[in-house]
Symmetry: C2
Subunit: 406 residues, 2 copies
């Protein structure tokens, strides 16, 4: 492959892209944005709807909007998110809090319901920091033990690796579906079944797969899941997270942050907390309504695009990013730190080189924006709704130029 | 007093109102809004700034905005809120999470740091539901006991009432500064000193006083406080809460929801949580940036209006609401369930009548909007930035008409 053939290839792929229309549904001007796996771009409709909600729902309807729509919004939007992106039937998904807080609540719910003798939480050393910190914090406060998996960073957490850790003392296994560094995709259905056979429950972190992969939680009989709203879901900086609890478990679980919005009758305001029906009990305080509005717009786009088309494009974008890296960057000593096999790779390709911290700084100045992850990784984030093949090539070629000039 | 003289009085008070300019800085159209103590109205600037943030900071600067401004925003906005409304020096206030979650974190921090032998949390039966539920939940999970105060609903929690509950087994006292039902203002400085003399710490809920009263946390040597952003602070539905931790306590406290944003070095992403400096350790996950934007606009207005002028107007609005109620509604059997003494009353006047559930429904249809609280209370919410004396009279007169027609 040559530079010219990569250019031809990018142009052909963009011309044939079934999601080409979608780029125009997003606002903002940027030369090459390869960080949609950290912060998705804003749907054009986001600003329009925010203005309408501020003016009409907040400004004119005022407190009446709670009765008219807001009180139900965390559950209704959760249901929609579940249907469009999680393979989750209604009544199992709720929107609210940060991912960290939602993770804390669901992990506590699982740990507090564990049978006697099951007092181990399994997690891996390559998991996202918040996940590891919450596991350690919850284990410490509840007298549980953390059993650490030590995965190869690229090969990730496999059923084989997990098998050695699954004894009859395990209460919960918590893993990321897609690894935040390498982009490795864990085998969610197989691992879920494996955890169940061992008598434990699984809590999946879907931050890097929701809105990208065709996640099928109900089919895999997943117990619990959380994920964030601001990456591939394009909900905006600090958009609220979601939590999923399988219907069969909801009545047996409670979480510790027992606030009025999770109460069986929020406006009775009586003595003593009693858990609301279904997913309502996993809410705590007043939900962040304005922060949910951009999600209503991006879900419209995801519905139109279809999640299977999105995940297809993610695979093609990744393949192309690897091809471009091999062609243009391998000669500079750049290596690919993500799985090369399509089925094992999520929405980003991580490439490594000792100069990448400095290279990232210079890329940002040139409006070419991937992100840097310690110690030497550039993540090329590939967001199918917005990323073009030309953008990928621009970023990889820019990295090559910066490395050439050193 | 007659109806005519009330009308004259309202017109004079509005003409002399030093905050009359401020009403025009808010958007939305409503005949009479008396529920700013539940959901403040939107500053005009809120929609303008949201659009600018979506377009520029999110759309164009994208992930770079985290470095450029968002990473610091929860602490910077907290400092500003502290300076303008809480009498709090910089470095003690942080914005994030819902009030319920923030309350859980700070109560856990206080309980987990309590000396041996101090295992009682004191709270009152008239406190807002979330406060009571969180106290019960935390007590239950940490093996603490709840000691209940049973205040008279109007007279509220006084130092005398509290004295009987303060023994050397008390770890934490948590109270609302302004009672959500009656509007009673607790004597924050005296009670804080009283709790300290008993060797305990105090956690104040400022939901109904922040942005309304001239709260002076540092002067009173308060330990911990929380409050919400969507009432008198006008931050929008479900706006993030704030937490205050006195500088002298910060290094001795940790909270259990240990996420990456509270870490000493969030982007090192290493093994093990280590608490960030100062207030950063009380953050958990990625903070809700969009939801903070309206607060930046309302704080501008509060700065211009000054908190002392705001609290002066609150007293005058309350006095007028009581006068109007006595004149127009007492004959229908309506009673005042809030303190009549200005210094003991916050930002709403609660009036009671058995027909008020139905009356509220009809008022809402007529675009006259107070709120209803079980079993028979209408709260006339008085938000000095936006409420006119004419609006108060309109609402009280409308209640009188509805009661006459029954």
């Amino acid at each position: 492959m040559t530079v010219t053939s990569l250019q031809t290839s990018a142009a052909e792929l963009d011309a044939a892209d079934p999601l080409a229309w979608c780029r125009h549904e997003f606002s903002g001007e940027v030369r090459a944005y390869l960080d949609g796996n950290s912060l998705g771009r804003p749907p054009r409709e986001a600003a329009v709807r925010l203005a309408a909600v501020v003016e009409h729902d907040w400004g004119n309807r005022l407190i009446r909007s709670w009765d008219e729509q807001w009180f139900a919004l965390p559950l209704e939007l959760g249901d929609r998110l579940g249907r469009l992106t999680l393979g989750a039937a209604a009544g199992q998904t709720v929107i609210g809090d940060s991912t960290t807080v939602m993770l804390y609540k669901l992990l506590r719910a699982a740990v507090d319901a564990a049978p006697d003798g099951r007092n181990v939480i399994v997690v891996d050393r390559e998991n996202f920091p918040t996940d590891r910190y919450i596991v350690e914090s919850v284990a410490s406060e509840r007298g549980f033990t953390v059993r650490w998996l030590e995965p190869d960073p690229v090969a990730g957490v496999t059923p084989d690796l997990l098998a050695a850790a699954l004894a009859d003392d395990v209460a919960v296994v918590t893993l990321s579906h897609v690894a935040y560094k390498s982009g490795f995709v864990a085998d969610l259905p197989t691992i879920t079944e494996q955890v169940h056979r061992a008598g434990a429950v699984v809590l999946w972190d879907l931050c890097h797969s929701v809105g990208l992969l065709d996640v099928r939680l109900d089919d895999a009989d997943v117990d619990l899941a959380v994920g964030c709203g601001y990456k591939f879901l394009c909900g905006g900086p600090g958009a609220p997270a979601f939590g999923y609890v399988a219907a069969r478990l909801q009545d047996r679980l409670t979480q510790p942050i027992q606030g009025w919005m999770g109460h069986a009758d929020a406006f009775a305001m009586g003595q003593g907390w009693s858990p609301g029906p279904g997913m309502r009990r996993f809410l705590s305080g007043t939900p962040p309504i304005l922060a949910m509005i951009p999600l209503t717009a991006s879900l419209d786009l995801i519905e139109r695009a279809r999640i299977t088309t999105i995940s297809d494009k993610a695979r093609r974008l990744g393949r192309f990013a690897i091809e471009a890296t091999d062609t243009l960057l391998a000669g500079h000593g750049v290596t690919v730190s993500s799985p090369r096999e399509d089925a094992l790779r999520g929405g980003h390709v991580t490439i490594s080189h000792p100069a990448f911290r400095e290279v990232t700084r210079r890329l940002w100045e040139a409006d070419v924006i991937p992100d840097f992850r310690n110690p030497d990784g550039i993540r090329l984030g590939l967001a199918p709704l917005t990323t073009s093949f030309g953008e990928v090539l621009d970023a990889v070629a820019s990295i090559g130029e910066l490395l050439s000039r050193r």
